[in-house]
């Protein structure tokens, strides 16, 4: 992906801004992810067997579980990089961009988790939603990080944004266990293991494992690209400001 520089830029700075977000490494990684996804589709839809009880519905597992894993991983990375930003010795906007990119990817896959989970629930339990503590906490996680992304969009300088959102991400670490704990206490009779009752065949486990590995690589690839785009966003904002200042100064000089 490339982005265009503001029209007022000189040719040299324009070419500096016209950088692809991919590197040799990320292209290799992207190819591996694609191969993994194709393998997952073949394994999940064709090769792996039906479940004795759930039938075809079990195939949802190969997307649902890796998505959930990816989303949790993403939110953990957001929390850790937010802490890294706030820690004086490692303060860098790079941490802030990783936190932001990771949260965006996390929100997307948390939503996919909820959608695939409720579709599976409709088929297996006969209902889209149960007030299970895990489901409810997941929904709260989604809303919390949607709020986090909204706060990232509030504006201000890059470091203001970074500080504000880093603190908010750490407050979410405080909030989520409290929500989980209170919901669990509220509905003590929650479902046991939602899917997996230890009756997966080797091939099913292998497919699930392929899904987990592929989605982890997919996460790395998405965050890598997204944080590079965010870096360019910040550069464009900075240059836009410089250009506007230069223009005003020219006006003042005339």
């Amino acid at each position: 992906m490339t982005i265009a520089a503001p029209a007022s830029q000189t040719t040299s700075s324009r070419s500096a801004l016209r950088r692809p977000t991919s590197t040799r490494f990320s292209r290799g990684l992207g190819t591996a992810v694609l191969a993994g996804l194709v393998t997952l589709v073949v394994l999940g839809l064709a090769v792996s067997p039906d479940d004795r009880i759930q039938g075809d519905a079990v195939r949802n597992l190969y997307i649902h579980v890796p998505s959930a894993w990816l989303a949790y991983l993403a939110f953990i990375v957001t929390a850790v990089s937010s802490a890294a930003y706030l820690f004086r010795r490692t303060r860098s906007l790079a941490w802030d961009r990783i936190a932001g990119a990771s949260a965006e990817v996390g929100v997307l896959f948390m939503a996919i988790t909820l959608v695939t989970g409720s579709l599976w629930g409709r088929i297996t339990w006969g209902t889209y939603w149960v007030w299970d503590s895990r489901l409810t906490t997941t929904a709260f996680l989604l809303v919390t990080y949607i709020g986090y992304l909204a706060v990232r969009g509030l504006g201000g300088s890059h470091h203001q944004r970074a500080r504000r959102s880093a603190v908010l991400a750490l407050l979410a670490v405080l909030e989520v266990p409290l929500v989980h704990f209170s919901v669990r206490w509220w509905r003590p009779l929650h479902q046991g293991q939602s899917v997996r009752n230890g009756e997966l065949s080797d091939l099913m486990l292998f497919t699930l494992f392929t899904g987990l590995v592929t989605f982890t690589l997919l996460y790395v690839w998405l965050v890598l690209h997204r944080q590079r785009v965010l870096t360019m966003d910040d550069m464009v904002a900075d240059r836009g400001l410089d250009a506007a200042l230069a223009e005003r100064q020219r006006e003042g000089g005339q």
């Binding site: 509030l154 880093a166 603190v167 407050l171």
Partner: protein, 228 residues
């Protein structure tokens, strides 16, 4: 730390003085909260159901009112750049946070008392002498938590450019444990659905934990969140 407490008391007194003189919460938010209680009755349309869910409706009305009161609390600060002035004057953010939380808490307690009375009148909720202590402790602990998160996220969402719409999105998910805990504890205090007083006390632990967590977290984080 003593100076932070002194600042907190001064800020709280200032906020309450503004309320006494402007009467915005009394004249606007209180009637709003009561009309919400009436609307619940329209929606649910059954005396038995209302009696059963009265505690939950009271706390739901408190949450809705919280959003409005918090917006008011920071509209006052933002209007003349008062919050910036305080920050520029070198006032400790923790002091501002605690002070605004205290003022918010006092206003919420008044609101809750009125809502409880309206639940007794409109929903046939009954306040038993045995549940009075539990009810009072519930109100204080839940209100402390709500005041802290209200001030914390209100400070973040205060200011220009459509940030008002952000507040409910940030505030309500965080308030969920308080809604659950306070509703269960109030049900026990009122004996709703055959609940006993003893069932309510463990929930007070959750409410207290919440209040302490966000009291401490808010004191530390408030400065970073309102810094413009």
């Amino acid at each position: 730390m003593s100076s932070a407490w002194r600042i907190a008391r001064l800020v709280a007194a200032k906020d309450l003085r503004i309320e006494v003189r402007s009467r915005v919460v009394v004249n606007q938010v209180l009637p709003f909260a009561v009309i919400v209680m009436v609307m619940f009755a329209f929606a649910l349309d059954s005396d038995a159901v209302l009696e059963r869910v009265a505690p939950g409706l009271v706390w739901l009305a408190v949450l809705f009112s919280l959003v409005v009161v918090v917006q008011r609390s920071f509209a006052v600060e933002v209007a003349d750049g008062a919050l910036d002035a305080l920050r520029v004057a070198g006032v400790r953010p923790a002091g501002i946070f605690l002070g605004k939380s205290m003022a918010l808490g006092v206003q919420l307690l008044v609101l809750e008392a009125v809502l409880l009375v309206s639940a007794v009148v409109l929903y046939r909720a009954e306040v038993r002498p045995a549940g009075m202590l539990l009810l009072a402790v519930t109100a204080v602990s839940a209100t402390t938590g709500l005041a802290c998160i209200g001030t914390l996220y209100g400070g973040l969402a205060s200011g220009a450019r459509g940030r008002d719409t952000l507040l409910p999105l940030l505030l309500l998910p965080v308030a969920a444990p308080v809604l659950i805990g306070a509703t269960r504890a109030t049900e026990s205090a009122l004996g709703t659905g055959g609940a006993t007083t003893g069932e309510g006390w463990p929930w007070i632990g959750l409410l207290a934990l919440f209040a302490v967590a966000f009291g401490v977290g808010g004191s530390l984080a408030f400065g970073a969140l309102v810094d413009e």
